[in-house]
């Protein structure tokens, strides 16, 4: 850990000076924050404010133009996406993704494989160790499927699922590898209230298990219920950072959401 990095032992994740430009326009500029171990942090902001770009950069899916970041004291700057995942930082995508032609069980097992399964040679020869690892992954996958109420579809291909169900599967897959930190990009957008409750329960259970989360979301009610801390992005810059209540009362935040025409008594 040289030249900066997390300042405090309770800090799990830290980012400094993150910047990303598209076609000469800043999508994210000088964004820095820390995430405490075991917390649930929300990242909010209007459409196009750079939330997804931030997540993409911090998980290695986009090459950042500037900035450095650390997970648990280890610098991840510049590593590939798969190395971020292996270091213990996984994510879900705003446009939900699944391996459509594979069963839910296979979908989830793929999430755990990098951590739980052995070498390629072991996979090829398929000895007892491989079978044991496979059984262990399947047991955990079934457990998670049960938790989200999809265990009866364990053998079904993912493409038959509804939108909300796919979001559940995506979240379940992202925790199969028991990451230290998960970044969820809009986990409840476009999902009906019952399903939102289910996702909320799942997130709480995870958090109780010691997983730290960064959640990008537009659904304010959901955020206010679940987050310990809220970060606000506007036009690629971090404009607020505080508890849900503080952020709710922050005039700059209202401003960002309501546009430039700042009403003097907006609060």
């Amino acid at each position: 850990m040289s030249g900066g990095g997390p300042s405090n032992k309770d800090t799990l994740f830290a980012a400094q000076g993150l910047g990303k430009r598209y076609h000469g326009v800043d999508a994210v500029a000088d964004v820095g924050f820390e995430i405490e171990r075991g917390s649930i942090v929300a990242l909010i902001g209007p459409n196009g404010s750079g939330k997804s770009t931030t997540v993409d950069c911090l998980t290695g899916f986009q090459r950042a133009d500037a900035g450095r970041w650390w997970l648990g004291g280890r610098e991840l700057t510049g590593l590939s996406a798969s190395r971020h995942a292996r270091a213990g930082l996984t994510r879900t995508f705003q446009n939900v993704r699944a391996f459509d032609e594979m069963s839910l069980l296979e979908n989830l097992c793929l999430g755990a494989q990098q951590r739980d399964a052995g070498s390629w040679w072991q996979a090829f020869t398929g000895g007892p160790a491989e079978r044991r690892a496979q059984a262990k992954m399947e047991a955990r996958a079934l457990e998670l499927l049960e938790m989200v109420g999809l265990d009866h579809y364990a053998e079904a291909p993912a493409e038959i699922l509804s939108y909300g169900q796919r979001k559940l599967v995506a979240i379940a897959a992202s925790i199969m590898a028991r990451p230290d930190l998960i970044m969820l990009d809009e986990p409840v957008a476009g999902v009906n209230p019952t399903m939102i409750n289910r996702i909320e329960a799942m997130i709480r259970a995870l958090n109780a298990d010691g997983v730290t989360l960064l959640i990008v979301e537009h659904n304010m009610e959901f955020i206010m219920r679940i987050a310990d801390r809220v970060l606000v992005l506007a036009s690629g810059r971090l404009i607020a950072d505080g508890t849900p209540d503080e952020v709710r009362r922050n005039p700059e935040v209202l401003d960002a959401y309501l546009g430039r025409s700042r009403a003097p008594h907006a609060v």
């Binding site: 998980t59 290695g60 899916f61 590939s80 996406a81 798969s82 190395r83 995942a85 292996r86 996984t90 994510r91 879900t92 995508f93 993704r97 699944a98 391996f99 459509d100 032609e101 594979m102 296979e106 793929l110 999430g111 494989q113 990098q114 951590r115 399964a117 390629w120 996979a123 090829f124 398929g126 491989e130 496979q134 079904a156 291909p157 493409e159 038959i160 897959a173 992202s174 199969m176 590898a177």
Partner: protein, 320 residues
């Protein structure tokens, strides 16, 4: 598809019994063609059907194996076994270079670069006379001897012997590929093909898996070429003929990319019919082109894809 393993065992039993039953050279030539194409098509299936990379360099690997083996045996006095192995490794190296250089850019670039590489091979075979003897190639390859420890040396002569050798080779390769496709490696390849970013978010390294599949595929394809040229007794630039590539593509596309049995079935079928439809080679390729277009437009997943869609319908109905 569920009965495929049983069917395959039966077919294999018949194929293995053939040499004791008939002496017809025509049957053996047909049989060994089927064996070669089963290897070539399954090799392409690993790369295209599993890793999702449309490799148009397969014919180049085949030819490199052929030329490499012939040059090692004729010019350097190697025996056939090691020469085939080393020529296969040569094809692997070529495949890895092409794949590594182009995959850093995109899958699109890979398809283009692999095609350009195949065309380059034709040119090198034709024009680099000091290495390849130019357009006339190397005729009169000696009939090879295989010396396995504990057995008397086996001098291969005639289609029957090559049929036996290629049958053994094809079975070995197909077992290898079957295992790779069915184990965790194959599943991960399929996952990467279906959604690369998602696979990355799960810690998989797509480049490593793709290089592995290209390397393995090039190796088995190159070795098939190395054995095949000794059956032909000549290697010349026509070993790089696009006829081979186009035939492989048809087999994979019609059989169903990603389906081991579908592609194997299509390989047997399409190796057998040209002999049944005996007309001009040019017209045959016109027909193949039309089949390819029709297959791409009408059944994107090939025959195996049709079966899969039926299964999907059952799940959808169950959901209601």
């Amino acid at each position: 598809m569920r009965r495929a393993p049983a069917l395959a065992t039966l077919a294999l039993a018949i194929a293995a019994a053939l040499p004791f039953l008939i002496g017809d050279a025509y049957i053996y030539t047909l049989g060994l063609t089927i064996c070669v194409f089963a290897v070539l098509a399954s090799g392409l299936n690993l790369v295209y059907g599993f890793a999702g990379l449309l490799s148009l360099a397969q014919v180049a690997f085949f030819g490199i194996g052929g030329y490499g083996t012939a040059i090692l045996v004729v010019d350097h006095g190697w025996s056939m076994g090691p020469a085939v192995l080393v020529a296969g490794v040569l094809a692997t190296v070529a495949g890895l270079v092409v794949a590594y250089a182009s995959l850093r850019l995109s899958r699109h670039a890979f398809a283009i670069v692999s095609l350009v590489f195949s065309l380059l091979c034709v040119i090198v075979a034709r024009d680099w006379v000091s290495l390849t003897r130019g357009p006339m190639g190397m005729p009169g390859l000696p009939s090879p001897t295989i010396a396995l420890p504990g057995l008397p040396p086996w001098q291969l002569s005639g289609p029957r012997d090559f049929y036996i050798l290629l049958l053994v080779y094809a079975v070995a390769v197909l077992l290898l590929l079957y295992r790779v496709m069915r184990c965790r490696i194959g599943r991960t390849l399929l996952a990467i093909r279906q959604n690369e970013p998602l696979a990355q978010s799960m810690g998989q390294n797509p480049l490593a898996y793709r290089l592995f599949s290209i390397g393995l595929s090039a190796w088995v394809t190159g070795m098939a070429g190395g054995i095949f040229v000794f059956h032909l007794t000549i290697v010349d630039p026509s070993i790089f003929d696009f006829y081979y590539l186009e035939t492989m593509l048809i087999m994979v596309v019609v059989g169903g990319p990603g389906s081991f049995w579908g592609v194997l079935g299509a390989a047997v079928f399409f190796s057998a019919i040209p002999d049944l439809l005996r007309f001009s080679a040019d017209l045959r390729l016109v027909l193949y082109g039309l089949v390819l277009i029709a297959a791409v437009l009408a059944m994107p997943g090939g025959v195996a894809g049709l079966l899969r869609r039926r299964r999907l319908r059952r799940w959808r109905e169950a959901r209601r």
